[in-house]
């Protein structure tokens, strides 16, 4: 690669990333020198940064380039994923502000770290080389570890951060090991060259074996990051221990980047080995759906419950990728976006219950909500039914598209297993509905969130219904990414 010529015009294809990095530096400095009473400045600048970055990424939709010596790719999927990442991050930060305010955690670093992790996600999404993927992953993960520990006087948060760090490091190690195998056999870090090598017809059986060996470690690394069973052990503890706003961030926005990593490594890079990784994903998917549905039944902590619910959603996403066809990838991408939309609303509703000195963490904290805040109870009802896959909400259609692809790929039995567990999981979503609607409130619980959060949460909830009534456009968009 000595003959690589740097082309200054290429920089404009990475404009979103460059802008964000510059903005992060500016915000960090500004935050250092602003008085405490102007603290909101950091928050607003963060939102503006996300918005502008999202807009820049939006203008790049339609461009298709591999630049920087094959380490960075710009394509429809990358740009679209970035736009969604920015949008979801903005929503998450709106909810976050309320949480930080009532729990005295409001600090400029929080937002800077969140932006840094988003930057890492962008790098992951646009990565076109094993090294860039790893680089993006680490930028993202290190920021997230720190975010969890930001509530440094809470023992559970520190424990969660440490747990996430240790297990995350193991996962990164496994991923790197897999990458080194791939590099060793193909001699390339560039995804396109890896793909070219894997598709060449003249592979000796030992070469296939080593490729496979690397592949398994890559799959494990991805499964760790996504939180698929049996690599899910960190998920419930981290979700429960982290401050709710961080849990929300953790369980939503990075999933796009993780899905992008899966696409880059498996579909773009090792697409020729699809028969191998499909089987692996199928096993991971069914285990995740099963365990996520069953174990959640016993949870009384709502963050922990949602952790297991996430695991089962991840199972559905993996099921979509496991089909090995473009429509299946589209269905999986659609599911990722839908899952994030639902998860944001769910955590948003939890955060909305938080008050000065009161941390909503138990399912029981929702008791009688429908009496005092009927509108927000209704939103939570919609979210829970949507997660359970009850029509006409969006969650049903995301499951429908996945199941359709699974059946079409010939795995009717997998579809049956998946729907049976979907029914089992409906039980715990119903428990939350029951708590809100059928139980009487013990004390006064009402949503006291600021108006911006109320508006965004309402729109978030309404979207779950409205996109459910007309999912066609979004589905088409998701399929067009691949």
């Amino acid at each position: 690669m000595i003959d690589y010529q740097f082309n200054i015009a290429d920089l404009c294809f990475a404009l979103p990333e460059i802008f964000m990095l510059a903005a992060i530096v500016v915000i960090l400095l500004l935050d250092l020198y602003t008085a405490k009473r102007f603290q909101n400045l950091t928050y607003y600048l963060t939102q503006i940064t996300l918005f502008v970055t999202g807009y820049l990424a939006f203008t790049l939709i339609g461009e298709s380039q591999v630049i920087f010596d094959g380490t960075f790719v710009l394509d429809a999927m990358g740009s679209t994923f970035k736009v969604f990442t920015m949008g979801f991050a903005m929503v998450a930060l709106v909810y976050t502000r309320h949480y930080l305010k009532v729990h005295n955690l409001f600090r400029g670093e929080y937002f800077v770290l969140a932006l840094l992790s988003v930057l890492g996600m962008m790098v992951m999404i646009s990565a076109h080389s094993l090294l860039t993927i790893y680089l993006g992953l680490e930028i993202m993960s290190l920021s997230l570890y720190t975010l969890i520990a930001i509530a440094r006087d809470r023992a559970t948060a520190v424990e969660a951060a440490l747990k996430y760090f240790v297990l995350g490091a193991i996962a990164s190690g496994l991923l790197l090991y897999g990458m080194s195998m791939i590099y060793g056999i193909t001699g390339a870090l560039d995804i396109a060259q890896v793909a070219a090598f894997a598709t060449s017809a003249t592979l000796a059986s030992e070469q296939v074996l080593i490729l496979n060996f690397g592949l398994v470690f890559l799959v494990i690394g991805i499964a760790f990051k996504l939180g698929a069973v049996p690599f899910h052990m960190w998920v419930p503890d981290v979700y429960q221990g982290a401050p709710t706003s961080v849990t929300m961030f953790l369980s939503t926005v990075p999933k796009i980047a993780a899905a992008a990593m899966l696409v880059r490594l498996m579909i773009d890079g090792l697409g020729a080995m699809q028969a191998y990784w499909s089987d692996l994903f199928m096993v991971l998917a069914i285990l995740s759906i099963a365990l996520g549905s069953l174990v959640a039944l016993m949870q009384s902590n709502i963050k922990r419950l949602l952790a297991y619910s996430t695991i089962s959603h991840i199972g559905f996403i993996l099921l979509g990728f496991a089909t090995g066809v473009i429509e299946g990838y589209g269905a999986a991408a659609f599911y990722v976006l839908v899952y994030i939309l639902m998860s944001l609303a769910a955590f948003g509703s939890i955060i909305a219950l938080n008050k000065q000195g009161f941390e909503a963490e138990q399912v029981a904290d929702f008791r009688g909500l429908s009496k005092h805040s009927p509108w927000f109870a209704l939103i939570m009802l919609v979210v829970m039914l949507s997660m359970a896959g009850v029509p006409p909400f969006i969650g049903f259609f995301s499951k429908l598209f996945i199941l359709q692809q699974v059946v079409s790929a010939g795995y009717v039995y997998l579809a049956i297993i998946a729907v049976v567990f979907a029914v089992i999981s409906a039980y715990y979503y119903l428990q939350i509905i029951k708590t809100m609607y059928f139980d009487d409130a013990e004390g006064e619980i009402a949503v006291t969130a600021p108006i911006d959060m109320k508006v965004v949460l309402s729109i978030n909830g309404i979207l779950i219904l409205v996109i459910g009534l007309m999912p066609s456009y979004w589905m088409e968009l998701a399929i067009s990414l691949f």
Binding site: L400, L403, V412, A415
Partner: protein
């Protein structure tokens, strides 16, 4: 009216939203809005009847616009003679439950009315969907308002009943979804979820059998058939009066409708293959559940079991056809067509009649419950002394429930029994025992509650029904009697569709092997 069906679906749903928005604090306005919307919807639904062409089995009032283009899922509505009466039954019953809940519901009255309005729209959607996924969406969505109705306004054990109801029916229907997806994926190019496409899809017997049982699970849970009926007594007993009425009068019909619309046309060969099993389960429901009803101490539970027993006639009437006729090799039907029409139309009449009678019975219990807050038969006795007008209605409905000639309860059951007689003497014999068992449990309950000496002072102070209650019960009494004396118009409406359905049920869909 081009989009009458859409209006019928969305007017109550959006109207329910309006009633929610008016809120519990202005409950009087909310109630009047709810009743106004339900009356308008009922009036509009009558236009389906007046504008209906009884000479054709083709779908009428059709609307078809693309919905989810990638999978060829369409917003495809239409009705025929089988769905139209059920839609009118729905709009009719909704007025009754809204009026019935007028003063009784003190806790969140606006939400209560709104739930029933939304439910109405969704159920009309179920009966008018011509696209399988659209059907499934409405089918599942109907669970949500009912879950809340039972859970919020229900009795002591409401949470258990609501969750059991939801999970039971949810589990039943997911297999329906998988089989729909399966049939979509094997179609190849131009695949669609439209019912017409599914009706024409050739399926091997193995495929049909799997699909038949998946359908069966979904619909049998809803009907409900023995042995998947156990959710019903719980749901009925715990539901508020209005919830029980809608559950019995309409939601159970969704199951019966499913057999008509899905099982027979889509899996005709498997239906024929397994007809005996279904008939056996129907007869068990009729006889065994009838005996179960006999020993109930709780009035609502008694009526719930009686519902299961009566719904057995619907499935019996539908599946008896395979023992009566078969398709000849020349394409002509061999056997007694009369007998088959009696069975299918009897099943339909039974569904509508049961809609009136069970609604009336639950309202009767509701009237008593509102006064003494007890559903136990033993609490009452000699009610006639303090509530003579009410007792008159109650006895009429009890007679109809027992199948007295002249009431609608007689017509459907008699038609099905006649049809079953042509299939097999023993089917008819066992089905006919209901005339004795049904009379036994209903009249015994009447005897213990209404006749006899006044058992306690509470009963003697009961006040007779007010004008509102009189209006509801009188309307139902007229409906029961009209259907009982002159059911011909309803039969005429459905005849062309029944003929077409029979054709579909007898035409084999097995792929031709060369």
């Amino acid at each position: 009216m081009e989009s009458l069906l859409s209006i019928l679906i969305w007017l109550p749903v959006l109207g329910g939203g309006l009633v929610l928005a008016i809120g519990n604090n202005r409950s009087e306005s909310a109630k009047w809005a709810a009743v106004a919307i339900s009356v308008v919807v009922f009036a509009l639904s009558l236009m389906l009847w007046t504008g209906f062409d009884t000479s054709t089995s083709a779908m009428q009032f059709v609307e078809n616009i693309p919905w989810i283009a990638q999978f060829n899922i369409n917003y495809h509505l239409g009705i025929d003679g089988i769905s139209m009466p059920l839609i009118i039954l729905t709009t009719f019953s909704t007025i009754l439950v809204i009026v019935a809940g007028w003063e009784v519901i003190q806790n969140r009255p606006a939400d209560y009315m709104a739930a029933f309005l939304m439910m109405e729209g969704v159920i009309i959607g179920v009966f008018s969907s011509m696209d399988a996924i659209l059907f499934y969406v409405f089918w599942e969505a109907s669970l949500i308002p009912m879950l809340l109705i039972v859970g919020i306004w229900g009795g002591q054990n409401r949470v258990y009943a609501a969750v059991k109801f939801f999970l039971y029916t949810f589990l039943g229907s997911v297999f329906l979804l998988v089989s729909l997806i399966y049939m979509y994926t094997i179609q190849g190019d131009g695949a669609s979820f439209s019912l017409a496409a599914l009706n024409d899809l050739p399926l091997t017997l193995i495929e049909q059998s799997w699909i038949f049982w998946a359908f069966f699970l979904a619909f049998a849970v809803k009907v409900p058939m023995f042995p998947v009926h156990t959710w019903l007594p719980d749901a009925h007993v715990q539901a508020p009066t209005g919830g029980s009425v809608i559950l019995a009068a309409i939601m159970l019909k969704m199951g019966g409708y499913g057999f008509f619309r899905f099982s027979l046309p889509i899996t005709p060969d498997a239906s024929s293959e397994f007809a005996t099993v279904v008939i056996a389960l129907s007869l068990i429901a009729i006889v065994y559940i009838g005996f179960v009803a006999l020993v109930q101490k709780d009035m609502k539970k008694l009526i719930a079991y009686s519902s299961i027993s009566h719904m057995g006639f619907v499935t019996l009437g539908v599946f008896a056809l395979f023992s009566i006729v078969e398709m000849g090799t020349d394409g002509n039907i061999i056997g007694s067509l009369e007998g088959v029409y009696l069975g299918l139309e009897g099943a339909m009449i039974q569904m509508i009649s049961h809609g009136f009678i069970s609604a009336a019975m639950f309202l009767v219990v509701g009237v008593l419950y509102d006064r003494l807050h007890s559903r136990d038969i033993s609490t009452y006795g000699g009610v006639i002394n303090s509530m003579p007008k009410f007792t008159g209605f109650a006895v009429l409905f009890a007679m109809a429930n027992a199948g007295l000639p002249g009431t609608s309860g007689f017509v459907g059951e008699f038609m099905v029994i006649l049809s079953a007689l042509q299939a097999n003497f023993w089917y008819a014999f066992l089905a006919a025992t209901t005339l004795i068992i049904g009379a036994a449990y209903t009249l015994w309950m009447v005897k213990r509650v209404f006749w006899g000496p006044v058992t306690n002072s509470a009963v003697s102070t009961l006040s007779d029904i007010n004008n509102r209650e009189f209006f509801i019960l009188a309307t139902l009494a007229v409906a029961v009697l009209v259907m009982g004396i002159y059911p011909q118009p309803v039969i005429e409406v459905m005849h062309a569709s029944v003929v077409n359905l029979l054709e579909q049920a007898l035409t084999t869909k097995l792929p031709v092997t060369l």
